[in-house]
């Protein structure tokens, strides 16, 4: 699994959150688009969690590149805001789903589970809200 997120606190927290639900998963991290593509090429992740606004790339355009390169890899967009045009473009780019950061604790793990075709094996945090 690969988590692409430029904000380090957000990235670390997402990694810990997903890792607690999938303790056996190998989770890689990328803070920008270049590193994300590098890791996709070298490690071919099954699933990518993708931020939209990256310092060197647009996460939706990156999604299209990753899907073209690795058709088996699913991409879940984890975005700051639910802009309708972005959601539409994300689906055209081949994203599996589009969720917003304020709904991560409610929607991320069920979406990851659907994308991987299996549920979490660990305890998970649950929704703190």
């Amino acid at each position: 699994m690969l988590i692409v997120e430029d904000q380090d606190v957000m990235r670390r927290t997402l990694v810990e959150y997903v890792q607690s639900a999938y303790p056996d998963a190998a989770i890689m991290e990328a803070a920008d688009g270049a590193r994300a593509l590098e890791l996709c090429r070298s490690s071919r992740p099954r699933l990518v969690l993708m931020d939209v606004a990256l310092s060197d790339a647009n996460g939706i355009e990156l999604t299209a590149q990753i899907r073209a390169m690795l058709p088996e890899t699913e991409v879940i967009i984890v975005s700051q805001h639910a802009v309708a045009a972005y959601v539409e473009r994300a689906h055209v780019a081949g994203a599996f789903a589009y969720i917003t950061k304020d709904k991560v604790y409610r929607e991320l793990l069920p979406t990851v589970s659907r994308a991987l075709g299996r549920g979490p094996s660990g305890g998970g945090h649950g929704d703190p809200q």
Binding site: D8, M10, R12, T13, E16, K101, V104
Partner: protein, 213 residues
Amino acid sequence: MPITVFIADDHPVMHEGLTHLLHAHEDIRVVGVAANGRDAVRQISQLHPNVVIADIAMPEMNGIEATRQIREWSPETRVVILSMHSTPDYIFDALEAGARGYLLKENAASEIVNAVRAVHAGERYHCKKIADVLAEQVARRSSPNPLDNLSKREREILQLVVEGHSSVEIAGKLSLSPKTVDTYRSRLMHKLQINDVPGLVKFAIQHGLTTLD
């Protein structure tokens, strides 16, 4: 007494991430969180935390307006802005509103603890990228130094003139002819748009080339 911290950010993932980071340090305790500026101000006016970590982009009331109101309702509380924005407008608005620190979300994990401790101790704390933006703005705002328009030789002659040396004396010191010294002297006065020696002396004092001694 631990440093009490309040977190204002519209993303629960940030609440958890920051709380987790800060709780690893015994001298810091997170006392509350809010997902919008209005709720943050309401809680902070009652809790009076030592430090607030506030995002700028929040619903209902943004972090800059919240900072202004926090300064009003809880003047002892120090605000650190934690934002994804590094443009001068955001930074100036935040500092004018009363923020004591400014960090970028891209590298907050490594700096947030230091920032909390620093602003609590009465210092300002900005991450390197923000400090660079501020320095760049200061450099741009400063008026250009007229001395930069003068050549090295012109600056030498300017100094000797304002120190009271005649063209003949200067020519002797610099191994030039008096006529050449006069040419340099006219050129530098033209460049500085100064017509007489008293004007040159005043200019030289203002720009630190010479003193009144």
